[in-house]
Symmetry: C3
Amino acid sequence: MGNCCDRAASFFGPQKNTNVRVGLPAVCFVWQIAMVVLFGVFIRYDEESDTHWVEFRRENNITSDIENDFYFRYPSFQDVHVMIFVGFGFLMTFLKRYSYGGVGFNFLIAAFGLQWALLMQGWFHSLNPETGKITIGVESLINADFCCAGSLIAFGALLGKVSPVQTLVVALFGVTLFAVEEYIILDLLHCRDAGGSMVIHCFGGYYGLAISWVLYRPNLHLSKRFHGAVYHSDLFAMIGTLYLWMYWPSFNSAITDHGDGQHRTAINTYLALASSVLTTVAISSMSKKGGKLDMVHIQNATLAGGVAMGTAAEFMIQPYGALIVGFCVGIISTFGYLFVTPFLEKYLKLQDTCGVHNLHAVPGMLGGFIGAITAAAATEAVYGAEGLRNTFDFEGEFENRTPGTQGGFQAAGTCVSIAFGLVGGVCVGFILRFPIWADPGDDNCFDDEVYWELPEDEEIVPPVLEYNNHMIHKHQEISESNFSVDQS
Amino acid sequence: MGNCCDRAASFFGPQKNTNVRVGLPAVCFVWQIAMVVLFGVFIRYDEESDTHWVEFRRENNITSDIENDFYFRYPSFQDVHVMIFVGFGFLMTFLKRYSYGGVGFNFLIAAFGLQWALLMQGWFHSLNPETGKITIGVESLINADFCCAGSLIAFGALLGKVSPVQTLVVALFGVTLFAVEEYIILDLLHCRDAGGSMVIHCFGGYYGLAISWVLYRPNLHLSKRFHGAVYHSDLFAMIGTLYLWMYWPSFNSAITDHGDGQHRTAINTYLALASSVLTTVAISSMSKKGGKLDMVHIQNATLAGGVAMGTAAEFMIQPYGALIVGFCVGIISTFGYLFVTPFLEKYLKLQDTCGVHNLHAVPGMLGGFIGAITAAAATEAVYGAEGLRNTFDFEGEFENRTPGTQGGFQAAGTCVSIAFGLVGGVCVGFILRFPIWADPGDDNCFDDEVYWELPEDEEIVPPVLEYNNHMIHKHQEISESNFSVDQS
Amino acid sequence: MGNCCDRAASFFGPQKNTNVRVGLPAVCFVWQIAMVVLFGVFIRYDEESDTHWVEFRRENNITSDIENDFYFRYPSFQDVHVMIFVGFGFLMTFLKRYSYGGVGFNFLIAAFGLQWALLMQGWFHSLNPETGKITIGVESLINADFCCAGSLIAFGALLGKVSPVQTLVVALFGVTLFAVEEYIILDLLHCRDAGGSMVIHCFGGYYGLAISWVLYRPNLHLSKRFHGAVYHSDLFAMIGTLYLWMYWPSFNSAITDHGDGQHRTAINTYLALASSVLTTVAISSMSKKGGKLDMVHIQNATLAGGVAMGTAAEFMIQPYGALIVGFCVGIISTFGYLFVTPFLEKYLKLQDTCGVHNLHAVPGMLGGFIGAITAAAATEAVYGAEGLRNTFDFEGEFENRTPGTQGGFQAAGTCVSIAFGLVGGVCVGFILRFPIWADPGDDNCFDDEVYWELPEDEEIVPPVLEYNNHMIHKHQEISESNFSVDQS
């Protein structure tokens, strides 16, 4: 039995070439071999994961193995890992016929990107000039996962409209740009951005939007039949949502300071997220006839509180401050889904499949500015002299920086991340327009059929209903007015 | 195409008003603003999450940041968090057309309740009389999640029969009652109840049952077409079951004593759960023709071991004791699903959608009494003098309490939790009977259509089959006895 | 409405007796009672989970409760627990009509096996000769979960072809054999095998394959209609895949040495897994028309990197070494799914439902040999004198063992695990051929209908389509050539 998709394609004329049989394996192999070579040249274990740890411990008077950084960060690392693969992955399964692509390409991008991230971030942050080696530990793994998150966010804007080879290109440049902007923001500007409102969400969001803008498809309506959810696909997406929501406190606190830093960041994030659930529900309900809730809002805008607290969560923003942040971004993000995404599509020719504008770009940018304000408002009275120094790392060449100056640099950092996202995204977008990437035709988007072997008997209802309608039509021709069919 | 639900409604006459467009946003906004104000007045970071931690550490001779309570409890907190949102949430997706409501309202209740819980529990347990502030840390977050669990259990009994506004009322009063009974049981009676057999499960179960009893719907059979599972909805529910089952050792051990307390609690819970799986399977298989297993039992009764060990798990009940507890409650809970729930519905007019009677109320009550017996049987020979004192907190004004007396108080605590659940539930039930809450009509229960925007093309089969049957019927009229349709 | 399965059965003649109403409850009850008795006789808390910990701590000058082994291992334990129940469980939901059996019997086997594992491993490893007691702690729980993994792997080869009673027999003997081979490999041969390439995967894989070979069903094609996936069942399986993939670093590092041991193992596993994703995608894409990806490969072969690093991950294999391992086994495993499984079925009469040959048996065996080579190549220059001693436990009677010798023993250990798997599996296979186990008929495999109460209205499409086709056929008879039906 031919399936409905082939039939549709033949109706719309010859299909675009979407064969990735050479390209995809070639990129994967070349890339993976390059990684092996570069890892061989550059990457080694750090002193906490090397067998010399026992000597290191003795020399540094470390009392116990439990003070190995592994025990401070590994549980958070695993939570972040779940967010990257299950959280982002399943959040993108909401389309009725692109669930494999959502979760599968997310898996591919992240596995591809994290290796490159270890190298890029290593060169910038932990290259030992004497040995020429990068040493890695659990914090490097967390940072590599974070770095992939930027590209996965960008993928959200492109979901269903790009080939797997293109997703790898997005990840390759995304990780590279990420490492550079992160170096500028965190090292040169000396910003604090533990949960990555700026470096991850703001950058990733605008990067994806800029690519999507360059790749605008005027005839995307031809794929309209696949552009929607079915009951169970939205339930799969809720798995992604909930894992992102639940583990976001770990995301923001994963690389903050030991002790009070991780502790406070987790509390603030927990509160901001709870608050944004309530305002999301409120706006979603207000916007529809009968007060019905929209799954798109529940799946996405509830997470905005976590994004917006990415920078400020480690500061003394106070519990009520966290609630206020969640309150506001929950509203803003839901309004984005209701009004801004349709506006962008109609007037700015920007097709944003998952609405990353509303979940990442804007809340991330706001998070950057909230961080700037919170930093600028910091005082020794609230933080304590030592606490202030520790929290903002006013040490070494930054010893004399004041909170006010720090606030200015935080705001500047946010602008840097937006600029990197937009400019980088436009460049990558043009690269992706070369006609060599086997991307799907306009009538073939959001369809797993193009890049996946699908099971023969599908449970997706539309073809069946179509089929029934077809039958009904035929029978009407035969039996004429003998009965009336309820085609409600 | 109008969908089957609209048609059904027009058949049964005018629908009840289920419009929540004003009520739901109003409650969410008012509530969230109240939370911001109250958090502003009352809630601050505790000394382990405040930037003054570095000074606190020095003053208290704490060797390392790893001794911050965060590292003792945060992994367990995240597990508990997953149980609350994914565990409880997905466990309630088993209905074919109420999966959004199950997971979505669960999300809403918990995000709403945990903020109120931080305040209520804070006022009772950690209000600093000098500063008038409540200070919070990771243990407060765990307790807030626990507190929500009580209301989520109650929601299980009401699933599909209440409006989202009603669920928030249930949570508001549920959290309040919880905080009071918890204060009486844990502080005044000085009971131990780490995993909350009494304060969470027994209270939550009876609270939900009492509400459901007051809200009895004599014509609920009109919603019968939605009251059942489909293949995949039961599989989604298994996600909930497994996460509850796997993380229950973290639930029970999350706030027990550092060191051996958390360690022993986790072991006991792990064993009781394993044991209740086997007896659940046994009874389920015995009860059906051909020995077929019933998903309802596997989804629920397998968890009874964790509920029943909520109090005793931190005591020296011994591994075989844990197995015996799991053995018995697995049987009791499965029997409950087979016989008690139908009995309650028929004779006591108590409609209990998820069977919380069998999973929470009864195992929780038993757990309370098991805890009482285990406490009463404690001896210095088994616990050691110091161990006995630590385990039961025989300190301060309770210095001279004996294990026997403690057992008596534990039993009394169980009774208090039942009383609070029943009396509180009846009162809340009457509040929920006011005709202002936009609850669904009797022919409209268990249907997401009422409160959710649903995707247009549903994959739920009944309408399609109905449609086909309709077609068949029509054709029979035409072609009369020309063929016989296999309407098996 | 009778369902299609009953109809099919009546077509193929009288069904085999699959009634487990006596057998399954009997086994569960007898077994669970035996466990209670044996736990009562043998099992107690160890010094870290006993209330005497506070005294033990003082006597051993342990500074803080945080040095209780619980805090080193509990987060990893929970991750392993998720892998066993959700990872293995959902990985086996890929069949369209055997999802309940996949996740449900997995649950049953593991809950059953872990109790027996605590006893078996306890007798071999931690029986106190003076008191005659086994003492357990968090490491015992991890080992019990590991021990179940062997039997769950074997279940993967048998999926859909055995009765629940048979799965329990597989687990009973599987756990027993596991404990013996583990004792030989780890204690007598003094191998290192933290993540169990040899003792878990290699043994479990060959054990399952040998059983499956003995239980060969020449007429399995009669169940062909159930032997395949549908769109959503493959998505459920991805939940299993991702949890296994994400938590594998915890699996391999759960019982390695405190400090650098756990740290390094996690890093190596993380890298190997990332690498095998890329080569799996490459080979999968190369193998199909149009470069389409096959879900079977993505679900399984991506995990091969974790299996193959089970032994070597705790050694100084270096990050690039881990990438190379993942690179190679990703290719080998995908080739296995493409060519070896069909070959085994056709020429060796070996039906391997989940392809455990390619995911566990072969990568596990390779992992054993990779471990042997890595061990043999170890030098004091790389490890440091102390590091070498710690990593390979060259202490006590093994003080003078050299890395070269260790390599030889590691290779021998791998052979022992294969031998145990094959010989044990053949024996258990013959036991399972007794006609008393109520296994399904050849026309009834891969069907949940046999052992589960199923919801009445199924959403699985085939019967509906069949039904429609049936209708069409009938109508053609009536209206003859009046219209042509598009039976594409």
